[in-house]
Amino acid sequence: MNGAEAILEALEREGVEVIFGVPGGANMPMYDAMYGRPGLKHVLGRHEQGSIHAAEGYASSSGRTGVVFATSGPGALNLVTGLADALMDSVPLVAITGQVARAAVGTDAFQEADVTGVTMPVTKHNYLVQDVNEIPRIVKEAFVIASTGRPGPVLIDVPKDVQLEEFTGSFEAKPRLPGYRPTVKGHPRQLEKALAALGRARQPVMMVGGGGHDAADALRRFAEASRIPVITTLKGLGVLPGDHPQVLGMPGMHGTVAANRAIQHADLILAIGMRFDDRITGNIAKFAPNVKTLIHVDIDPAEIGKVVETHVPIVGDARWVSERLAQSATALELDEWWARIRDWQRRHPLPMPERERLSSQEVIRAFWEATGGEAYVTTGVGQHQMFAAQFWKPKFPRSFVTSGGLGTMGYGLPAAVGVQVAHPGATVLNFDGDGSFQMTLQELATLVKYDLPVKTVLLNNGYLGMVRQWQDLFNDKRYAEVHLEDSNPDFAKLAEAFGVKGFTVERREDLKEAVEATLAHDGPVLAEFRVFHEEGVFPMIPAGGSAEDMIIENPREVQR
C-alpha cells in the first residue's frame, strides 16, 4: 500500500462516501488509488471552486463532513474562496491537495504554491504531510477538527512522493490534539442565570443562527413552551420552519420590520449559535438599545463578547444547551409583547411590489407554493439571495443553503450539486442571479455527467443588482459597471448546449405553467425568468445604520 492508498483507506474508515474534486499532476496517485474502491464515489467538477462549493453544499445540507480533492498549485489555490467561505459559515470540510515532491518544495517547481501558507488564514487548521506513516493520524485529526466544536475546513497538503511512498504505519494511530478541547456542556450556573432572566423578561426574543440546525428539535420545543418570538438569521433559516407562527423572519440589513423592531425593543435577547455579524447589527452602538440581559450561547468562546456586550455568556454546544432550556421552559407572560409584534407584522409585511414585468419575489413565492417548501434551496449572492431569504420559508433544518459570511457569488449552482448528491431523491432548487450564475456556470456539466436533477431558477434582471441598488440609493444612480444585459448569453440556449433543459419566461401568465414544468422535468433544468430590472431589496438598513434608519419601502416608489 502506498501513501495515496493509505489516504483513501483512512477516508473510508472515517465513513466518507463521496469525494468532490479534480485530478491533476500532483494528486494523480490518489486518483489512481480510487480505482478498485467502489465504496468511494467521486464527483468530478469542472473547476476546483465548483468542487469545494459542492462539498460545502453536501456538508451544509447533511451535517456530514464534505471532502474535496485538488492538485497542487492552481488546483489548490482555486479552493481558497471555498475554504474561506466554509470557515466563515462553519462548514465541516476536509480538503486534500497534492503538493510537488518534498525535494522540489521551495524550488518554484512546476505547479508549486505554498498551499499551507496561503490557506493558513482561511482554514481551521492545516497540515503538510512529511511522513507517509503519519497519514492515518493526520486524517483522523482532520475529521475531528473539521466536525467538532465550531466546524470548519481543514486542509491536508500531501507531496506527490509521499503519496507514492510505501506505507508501513498503522491505521490504529490515535489523534493527538493536546490543545484542542471544545466545550460542549454549558456552565450550569450560567444556565440558571439565563432561565431566571427569561422568567423576568417582558419583551424577550430568541435569535438563532447556523449553529441551531442540529438543535432544531430542542429549540422548537423550548420556543413553543416559552412562547418566545424567534428570529432566524440568514444561516439560521429553517432551524424552525419559516412559516411557524412564532418565527418573525430574518433580522438585519434586509430583515423583516417585525424582526428588527423586536430587537430594537427587546429587553432580553437569547442568542444561540449566531455571531452578531455586521449585516445583523448595523451600528453596534445603536443595536438593541433596550436590552437588559443578553444571553449568548455559542460553542466558540471567541464569538462571545466579540461584538456585543454579553451579560450571560454560555460556552457550549447549542443542542446540549437547548435541551436544558427546553426541559426547564415555562410559558412566559408575553401577550402584550406579541400584540405589538403582530401589529408590526400586519402593518409592514415584506414588500411584494406590483410590476408590469415579473418580479423575483413572485417567482420565488410561486415555487414555494408549488413545492409547499418541501425542497432544498441553494442561492448565489445578491438581490436574488435576499429575496429568497425573505420569501422562501424553509420547512426543515439544513434546507436553505447559502453563502452567508463570505457572500460568495457563484455559490448556488455548485452548492446545489453537493446538495443533490447528499439527497438524491429530493427537489433541489438553485435560486440564482444572472451575475452570480455566470461565475460558476461550468458546473452545469457536472449536473449532466451525474444526472443530477437540480433546478436552477435564474432571476435575470440584467444587472449586478445589489450593486446597482446601492448605486441607486447612495451614488445618485451612477450605474458604474453593473450592466450585464447588453452582453448576457441566451441562458436557455446555453443550458441546452450543456444538455440541460432550458427555457425562458417573460410573462406573468406563463409563470404557473413554467414552475410546474420546471418541477416536473426529471433531469436538470435552467429556467430563466426575465424580471423587473430596477428592483430593490427592502426593507433595508443602510450599512452602519440602525433599526431607526430602516428604509421600509423603495423610496423611488414612494416618490412616484
Binding site: 493558513m120 466544536g149 463578547g305 466579540k306
Partner: protein, 170 residues
Amino acid sequence: MRHVVSVLVEDHPRVLTRITSLFARRGFNIESLAVGKTHLPGLSRISIVVLGDDRTIEQVEKQLNKLVEVIKVTDHSEPHVEREMALVKVRTEGVEERLQIKEIVEAFRARAVDVGRSSSIYEVTGDPGKIEGFIAGLEPYGVLEVMRSGAVAMSRGEAILKPRLKKEAV
C-alpha cells in the same frame, strides 16, 4: 494598555507563523515576541507583549486558544516576573568616556561581553524600563547597535503554565 501574554504551544513547523499571522489578520499590535523551548519535550513557550484595551486582550487570548497547536494561554495580569536582555554596542574611544561608561554599566548591573579598540558590547538584563534606561544612559557616548531579546515572563507563585492532563470529551 501593555499586556504580557505567555503561550504554551506544540513545537511544530509554522506554529510561530500561525500566531503572527493571526495577530496581523486581527489587527493586534505586537510590541515584542520571544520564543524558546521548554523543559517539556515537544513544547515551546512564547511571550508576547501586546498593546490593547481589555477587550482586545480578551480577543487575543480567545483567538490564540482557537489555534489547534496552542495548548495554553495566560495574560500576566497577576504578579509576575518580566525580564528582557539586550546587547548594546557603544563607541568607547576616550579614556574619560570609558570610565564614565563603566559607572553606568555598574549602576545597571550590566557587563561587558566584548571590548574592542573603539567600541564595546554590553549585556544588560531587566524589565523593559531598565533596558530603556540603560540605553538612554549610553546615548551621549554613541550607541552603535542595539539588539533586544523581547520580554519573557512568568507568573509568580503557584500558577504554572502547563498542559492539562485530562482531556474533556469532545
